[in-house]
């Protein structure tokens, strides 16, 4: 085995270790602290106790959802940054989150969740995301060719339009609706439906597998589209598939957990600093560290003003943004 592969395996193990550590930390800590030793005994014989239900009904679902959403957002970030060769692209730049948020706002204001039940909110978020994806995609396709720069600009504009529409809705809506809208927009990993958590988990893992099939294409893209074609990459097909993949990953995450910014932008950059730009390792490590980052931020959100809870999107923004600025000034990183 060559040196590079051994190095990669070590990196994956390190990132897995950190993920595991943070997850256990997150299981133990909270408004009622449960020591790690007790968790093990709870698994064996604790069924029915309050502590058992705190761990398995409250904290574990959040950790799993954090794993799925953090991984998916970070993966979408890597894919988009690789495809656009632009370090500022993140899943939300393409307007997907705006669409999802608009869908949810409409749902809340029009009281559709009373008819459709709990699942109608994520469903409307996903629907909003899909509509935006279709609009952005069709606006930036000319003569069957997907124009990358056009895609970016259209995405940013759609993003602006939808946030203005959301503000319009908020200005016109009543106080109780306003509260639900604001709460949803700020993002949260609290999700009562196991079905949604399972769906999010499946989607993000499938996303990782599918994007991994394109790791060489993404590496070739780093040289530019034309060069990638010289290396035998069917650029139109690849761009289309990767765009759809990133959109589905983002759409799913947003509709389950609301808008959680910065994960898709910051995490890939950090991981790139450590493991390098080869997508064969970058994809896996970004997924793992995106998951770790979100679980960690969610834990902070739970404990900072416990027993009350902060929106996790706020924590990811503050923490991710400041860490990123720090890294930039410290290492003079070339983006």
């Amino acid at each position: 085995m060559n040196k590079k592969v051994i190095q990669w395996i070590i990196w994956v193990l390190v990132f897995c270790g950190i993920l595991l550590g943070i997850s256990i930390f997150s299981l133990c800590i909270g408004s009622s602290g449960i020591p790690f030793k007790k968790i093990i005994s709870l698994i064996i014989e604790g069924k029915g106790t309050t502590e058992y239900s705190i761990i398995f009904d409250l904290r574990l679902p959040r950790i799993i959802l954090g794993f799925a959403v953090g991984g998916a957002l970070s993966l979408a970030g890597v894919v988009l940054q690789g495809m656009f060769r632009n370090p500022l692209v993140e899943p939300y730049t393409l307007g997907i989150s705006g669409g999802a948020a608009l869908g949810v706002c409409l749902n809340i204001v029009l009281k559709m969740n009373r008819i459709g039940g709990v699942l109608s909110i994520p469903a409307s978020g996903f629907l909003g995301a899909i509509v935006v994806i279709l609009i952005v995609y069709s606006l930036s396709t000319r003569k069957g060719l997907l124009k990358i720069q056009g895609l970016l600009l259209t995405g940013v504009m759609i993003s602006f339009i939808s946030s203005s529409l959301i503000m319009l809705i908020m200005a016109l809506s009543r106080t109780e609706d306003l509260h639900s809208i604001v709460f949803w927009i700020m993002g949260s990993l609290e999700e009562s439906s196991w079905l949604l958590i399972k769906v999010a988990l499946l989607v993000s893992i499938f996303g990782l597998i599918i994007s991994y099939l394109f790791c060489f294409e993404l590496n070739a893209f780093s040289l530019g589209e034309e060069e990638a074609q010289h290396l035998g990459v069917n650029i139109e097909k690849t761009k289309r598939l990767l765009f759809i993949l990133a959109s589905v990953l983002t759409g799913c995450s947003v509709s389950v957990a609301g808008i959680i910014g910065f994960v898709g932008l910051v995490v890939p950059h950090f991981v790139r600093m450590f493991v390098g730009a080869d997508h064969r390792i970058l994809l896996i490590c970004s997924f793992l560290s995106g998951a770790t980052f979100l679980i960690f931020c969610d834990t902070l959100a739970r404990i900072i003003i416990s027993p009350l809870e902060l929106p996790v999107g706020v924590i990811t923004g503050i923490l991710g943004g400041s860490l990123f600025v720090y890294a930039l000034t410290k290492r003079g990183v070339v983006l």
């Binding site: 099939l213 070739a220 010289h230 290396l231 035998g232 730009a277 080869d278 064969r280 070339v334």
Partner: protein, 272 residues
Amino acid sequence: MNNTILEVKDLVCGYRTFFLKDISFKVKTGEFFGIIGPNGSGKTTLLRAITRVLKPKKEEIYFEGKNIWQMRLKELAKKIAVVSQNPGISFVTVEDFVLLGRIPHYKKFQFLETKEDLEIAKRCMALTDILKIQDQPVGEISGGERQLALIARALCQEPKLLLLDEPTTHLDITHQTKILDLIKKLNKEFKLTVIMVLHDLNLASEYCNRLLLMSEGRVYKIGSPQEVLTYQVIEEVYKTVVVVDKSPLSSRPYIFVVTEEERQKRGEKRKI
């Protein structure tokens, strides 16, 4: 006929404001074929058509008798490699950069290089004399070394035909000759067919077997350097006064520029 590696037939293609018109030519296996012409005459556009980046009106470009538009891109990338003018540079090491050239050879669900891939990359780096910088990041090596790394990456594709777009621009005379000597060596020893766009007419004259001179999107003349590089032809196409002599060593044409001062001194009356 079997000897022809690339045939372009009545090619019409281009952008909204610029078009190549009725370009036809054949390149033989093992040839060192130069494409020359003034800025904006369509040299790079022609290369882009040959590499399927630009879609022509009529899809009639044949590689070894097969229409390239009916070949799979991966197959094409195993046959034709390109060293382009403004390549994107990623932040990987030189070795990993060269290994990108193996992408068309990877099988489905293959994620790691095989021993063979690594050996081929080593050989290509040895040929281009960049083994000693293989662990440096591509972004930090000099322009000449970068050009060598690009050639090594192209060779890693194990192509039959190598296309180069002005590989010596911005390089000093040492690197210019180093790179062209290397390509000549590959052409001779490995029977690699080379099609190269060149700006420097003297380099083109020295290195190429045949030249294609383009002017305003058309083929102006195809032939040996002796046939193409005459002062009449150059003055007509480039709108510049030149003196053409023979190189004392290779007796190939050598072009001297004539300054305006010199022209006035000698009472040059010709209006170009």
